[in-house]
């Protein structure tokens, strides 16, 4: 359902993506792991064209684009078939919780207010925040804001949801509530692309893990292969380093 070929992007002199290929099936939960600054988030933002790659082709469902000559219509199509959950939540500050979930349904999908409201309340109920309906985002904790933003993403019924480090800017004690919601979303069968540093969660939730480094996909496969039986030196090194550092943190605690 999603096919990316030879995705290339540089910021000035720096090559960020050096020809990435990726293929995702419907209902897949794909997790991107790897050191910081290797282009994991950038791939996600290329898929909805928030970041503009210089080269590459992409097939998403029935939409097919060549990034060299993408037009505005195609851009809107890509965005209207996907939704994104941001590291910094990015809830609309001038709208209440329920308006945040409703707005795209009204503006983009042209639903009636009532229809949008009913769907929004249903989704807020799912993420456990229907009682915050009338609050403004600034009144909510980070975890609550992120759950609203997941409801906002679900509201437009996207084919693919892009999660960009959804727990990285949360206080540690708020991470779990958000991960639980993401897990329940994954169980609905929607296709998910997730960038995360939560290794255990990645292992548990995904059916495909992509290890990236320096703008390239180094290895991809089912979680067991990547986490247990990786043949690749770089993958092994990264995971070993990750787990030993985390162990130190736990010991210090």
């Amino acid at each position: 359902m999603l096919n990316i070929e030879n995705l290339k992007l540089s910021f000035g002199e720096k090559e960020v993506l050096k020809g990435v290929n990726l293929s995702v099936d419907k209902g897949d939960v794909v997790t991107f792991i790897g050191p910081s600054g290797t282009g994991k988030t950038t791939i996600l933002k290329c898929i909805n064209y928030l970041v503009e790659p210089h080269e590459g082709r992409m097939q998403m469902g029935s939409i097919s684009v060549d990034f060299k000559k993408i037009n505005k219509k195609e851009t809107l199509k890509l965005r209207r078939n996907t939704a994104m959950v941001f590291q910094q939540f990015n809830l609309f500050k001038n709208k209440t919780v329920v308006e945040n979930v409703m707005d795209a349904q009204i503006a983009v999908q042209k639903k009636s207010k009532k229809e949008a409201y009913n769907k929004s309340m249903e989704l807020l109920d799912k993420v456990g925040l229907s009682d915050k309906e009338k609050d403004y985002p600034s009144k909510l904790s980070g975890g609550q804001q992120q759950r609203v933003s997941i409801a906002r993403a679900l509201a437009v019924e996207p084919d693919i949801i892009l999660f960009d480090e959804p727990t990285s800017s949360l206080d540690p004690e708020l991470v779990d509530e958000v991960l639980k919601v993401i897990e329940s979303v994954a169980k609905t069968g929607v296709t998910i692309l997730l960038v995360t540093h939560e290794m255990d969660f990645a292992r548990k939730i995904s059916n495909k893990v992509v290890f990236m480094e320096k703008g390239k996909v180094i290895e991809e496969g089912p979680p067991d292969q990547i986490f247990e039986n990786s043949e690749n030196e770089r993958t092994k090194q990264f995971l070993k380093k990750f787990y030993s550092e985390n162990k130190e943190v736990l010991e210090v605690r």
Binding site: L50, R79, R80, M84
Partner: protein, 229 residues
């Protein structure tokens, strides 16, 4: 100070207040409109127009308003005549009322300041808001009207309040080209009865009253918008 004269002057100047405020409101709204257009041209880097806007702003901000008003007073009719002549229209622009010339001159000058306020308030809206709207498939126009502008407005509101007062006071320069506002009216009354202090005290009190009203209103509106975010 003569209290009876004070009261008489008050009654004499009061009828001109609505007119002055109306003039200020028109100029204020025009300056926001023109300021927004200039800000957009600069933000979107429109070639040629952008350089023109920058030069224009520099010129307006560096020229005393009274000088610009006189330039407009003596040149605007000929400019308009030139264009109507090109279009073969039979209109004598030398009949343009001086109030219109004042509106054009003050709107343009104030808009060069408004452009900066507006640009700043749009830049203060975080980039993430735009990204979120884009990711959901909003058209640029929808993102602009539904998400970005309401947030920018909260930032710009206090500045707009003081801009209105600047306009209000700038209009008094219209006296030089025969536009009658609160100040001009008080001058006319004073020169007819020779009680100068009374007339100008009344004028000052009226300006002050309007200022209090405007500041109260913007504060109220601002706190209402703030409670919503």
């Amino acid at each position: 100070m003569n209290l009876e004269i004070l009261w008489q002057d008050f009654l004499g100047i009061l009828p001109i207040v609505p007119q002055t405020v109306a003039l200020a409101v028109i100029i204020f709204l025009l300056s926001i409109l023109i300021g927004t257009i200039m800000a957009l041209i600069q933000e979107y880097n429109v070639p040629i127009l952008k350089q023109m806007v920058i030069l224009f702003k520099l010129f307006l901000r560096g020229t005393p308003l009274i000088v610009f008003i006189f330039i407009m007073y003596y040149s605007l009719p000929s400019v308009v005549n030139f264009f109507t002549g090109l279009l073969n229209m039979n209109y004598n622009a030398h009949n343009i009322p001086p109030a219109i010339i004042l509106i054009v001159a003050v709107s343009l000058t104030v808009s060069s300041f408004q452009a900066e306020t507006i640009r700043g308030s749009f830049l203060s809206v975080s980039y993430g808001q735009m990204e979120a709207a884009r990711s959901l498939g909003y058209t640029p126009f929808q993102a602009f009207t539904r998400i970005i502008t309401p947030q920018a407005l909260v930032e710009a509101l206090p500045e707009f309040g003081s801009a209105f007062l600047v306009v209000m006071k700038a209009i008094s320069l219209g006296f030089m080209i025969t536009v009658v506002d609160i100040f001009a009216q008080s001058r006319l009354i004073a020169s007819s009865n020779s009680y100068y202090i009374e007339a100008f005290v009344v004028a000052a009190l009226m300006y002050w009253g309007i200022a209090v009203l405007v500041v109260t209103l913007t504060n109220k509106f601002e706190s209402r918008l703030l409670s919503k975010s």
